[in-house]
């Protein structure tokens, strides 16, 4: 072989030691985690139940699934309510996140304030969705309004975190260019800052909307509206066909929303 090649071969990245350490570390963590597994709950019924659930998924309760009227249990209406909770919650969260984001962006308030703001955002994010749900139920009583408020507050954390990243990425060159044209302060904000933020902000909100609709499907568990209550009640009573109808409702709606959201977001990012 040519010496040049041998020389390059000699300079190849040597990652064996690093990889071994990483591998051992991961193995230790996994073995340690494995001790949590308890198989006590497994019994012979499980296989039967699994079969029944799969059967039900193929033949769900069609009377519920295609009931578009307000009488009786209607999966379409429950899913509409679920989407409504996700939608209103996202708008609430996206608006509430604005002050948090601007007050935690390093390039606006400086490093000290930014750390304080980020800590507050983390604290809000710690509240599990069910705890928030139960707290809001004490205000509104059980129902979808509690769900809207829950989703709104629960999404502040992630939305404002992503907003902060967008704000910190602002291109200041554009502001200098506007300065050179003699733009006023208001014009600089209107034509220099807002256009840089809106597309990404909206894209963030739409992304969170997808997650929020998924979250809204489980809020019913604590009585905060949406399809979750119907699903859990059907599962608890071993009514697999009813549960399967609810599951299909979730599948269809979440898939459609994901497709639409991906389309809109790719359009927003590419600048149409």
């Amino acid at each position: 072989m040519k010496p040049a090649i041998l020389e390059m071969y000699d300079k190849r990245p040597r990652t064996l030691v690093r990889n071994t350490i990483l591998f051992v570390l991961m193995a230790v963590i996994l073995v340690w985690s494995w001790e949590t597994m308890d198989y006590g709950g497994i019994n012979e019924n499980g296989a039967v139940v699994a079969r029944n659930i799969l059967d039900a998924l193929i033949r769900p309760n069609e009377a519920w699934l295609f009931n578009f009227t307000a009488t009786g249990t209607s999966i379409p209406l429950l899913m509409l309510e679920t989407v409504a909770i996700g939608f209103l919650g996202t708008i609430l969260g996206a608006i509430l996140a604005l002050p948090f984001a601007f007050l935690s962006a390093r390039n606006i308030v400086g490093p000290v304030m930014s750390n304080v703001g980020n800590t507050i955002i983390s604290i809000i994010r710690t509240f599990p969705i069910f705890i928030l749900g139960l707290m809001f139920i004490r205000v509104t009583g059980p129902g979808p309004l509690a769900g809207v408020l829950t989703i709104g507050i629960a999404s502040i954390g992630m939305i404002s975190k992503l907003y902060v990243e967008i704000i910190e990425d602002i291109d200041k060159g554009i502001l200098l260019a506007l300065d050179a044209t003699g733009a006023t302060r208001f014009q600089k904000i209107r034509y220099g800052i807002i256009p840089q933020l809106t597309a990404n902000f909206i894209s963030t909100a739409i992304y969170r909307f997808e997650i929020n609709v998924r979250n809204a499907t489980i809020l019913g568990l604590v009585g905060a509206g949406g399809i979750g209550f119907t699903l859990i009640a059907a599962l608890g009573a071993y009514r697999w066909k009813d549960a399967a109808a609810a599951l299909w409702g979730i599948i269809v709606v979440v898939l459609v929303i994901e497709i639409i959201s991906t389309k809109i977001r790719s359009k927003l990012v590419s600048g149409e």
Partner: protein, 308 residues
């Protein structure tokens, strides 16, 4: 269909239809012309500039209509039933709970929280690891540039989007009936969820990979497998590890509530204490959760920074 309608729908010939006045189209045409004039500016040197058409007004209107519809459906319906003042008077209930989490805070409860919290973390770690192991090969199956068959990758992608529709909690609720209550279902539910999102993130990266190095190594006489391991795997290993770490962050949060459907961990205690209105205990759990998440997120972020 009655006689009159039938006549109208069948009596129209092509020429008649063309002659009929079309007020809506005329109106839209006029609107478009007005808009174009509005967008056109003539500069002092005679050049005309046409600003591109903006959909933002139309889009805002659509959003507004959807918003009002949903608002009426939930908020409107609520205040039809209940008085607004009742709502206002009950807002302090929310703040009271927050306050009690603080004032009734009792560190002695900490000893009861440690074990379930460790369970929660273990569920999240193990579930993420299992999901990650399965996601790597399936991500290759879903990548159109690797399997070369649009049908295979399309089918795999469709199945994956089905898997991704349910949140972890729904999986846990269903699995509880198959495997019984316990941490096992928490691990499995987390694994399925992680598998879903991780595979998606991975195949999006794989599909943008530059495969020329694969071809180049193959041209030196290496077998397909060898070429794959030396050219493709190193390119995505960084993303794979970083996405896995990111999933751990998500999973720690979501596994904290899995106890609600019997999956073990700290969720059971949240449920119990919320029912007994022992908000001080909730406060302790939340602090432990906050600190655990903070530690794990910081480790994960540090490792991810090192990886990139």
């Amino acid at each position: 269909m009655n006689e009159k309608q039938k006549k109208r729908s069948t009596g129209d010939s092509e020429s008649e239809r063309l002659k009929r006045p079309r007020p809506v189209k005329a109106f839209l045409d006029r609107l478009a012309a007005r808009n174009l004039a509005h967008r056109t500016t003539t500069l002092s040197n005679g050049a005309t500039i046409v600003r591109p058409f903006s959909w933002s007004l139309t889009n805002s209107l659509i959003i507004l209509v959807i918003f009002l519809f949903f608002w009426d459906m939930i908020v409107g319906a609520y205040f039809d039933k209940y008085d607004f003042m009742i709502f206002v008077r009950r807002i302090p209930n929310f703040l009271n709970i927050l306050q009690k989490m603080w004032t009734e805070f009792d560190w002695s409860y900490f000893d009861f929280v440690v074990d379930p919290m460790v369970d929660t973390i273990q569920m999240a770690l193990l579930g993420t690891a299992i999901g990650a192991v399965f996601s790597l090969p399936v991500a290759f199956l879903a990548s159109a540039n690797i399997v070369k068959s649009k049908i295979v990758s399309g089918v795999v992608k469709t199945i994956l989007s089905f898997v991704r529709t349910f949140p972890t909690l729904v999986y846990a609720a269903i699995l509880a009936f198959i495997f019984g209550y316990g941490t096992l279902i928490g691990v499995l539910a987390t694994a399925i969820f992680t598998f879903g999102i991780l595979t998606k993130m991975l195949f999006e990266v794989i599909e943008t990979l530059d495969l020329s190095s694969f071809v180049a190594i193959e041209a030196t006489g290496a077998s397909k497998g060898k070429a794959f391991i030396t050219s493709v795997i190193p390119q995505i290993m960084g993303s794979f590890l970083s996405f896995t770490l990111y999933s751990i962050e998500i999973n720690i949060r979501s596994s904290a509530i899995l106890g609600y459907v019997g999956a073990g961990g700290v969720g059971i205690m949240l449920d119990e204490n919320m029912n007994w209105r022992r908000y001080g205990n909730i406060g302790v759990i939340l602090v432990v959760l906050f600190v655990s998440v903070l530690i794990i997120e910081n480790i994960s972020r540090y490792l991810r920074k090192k990886l990139s």
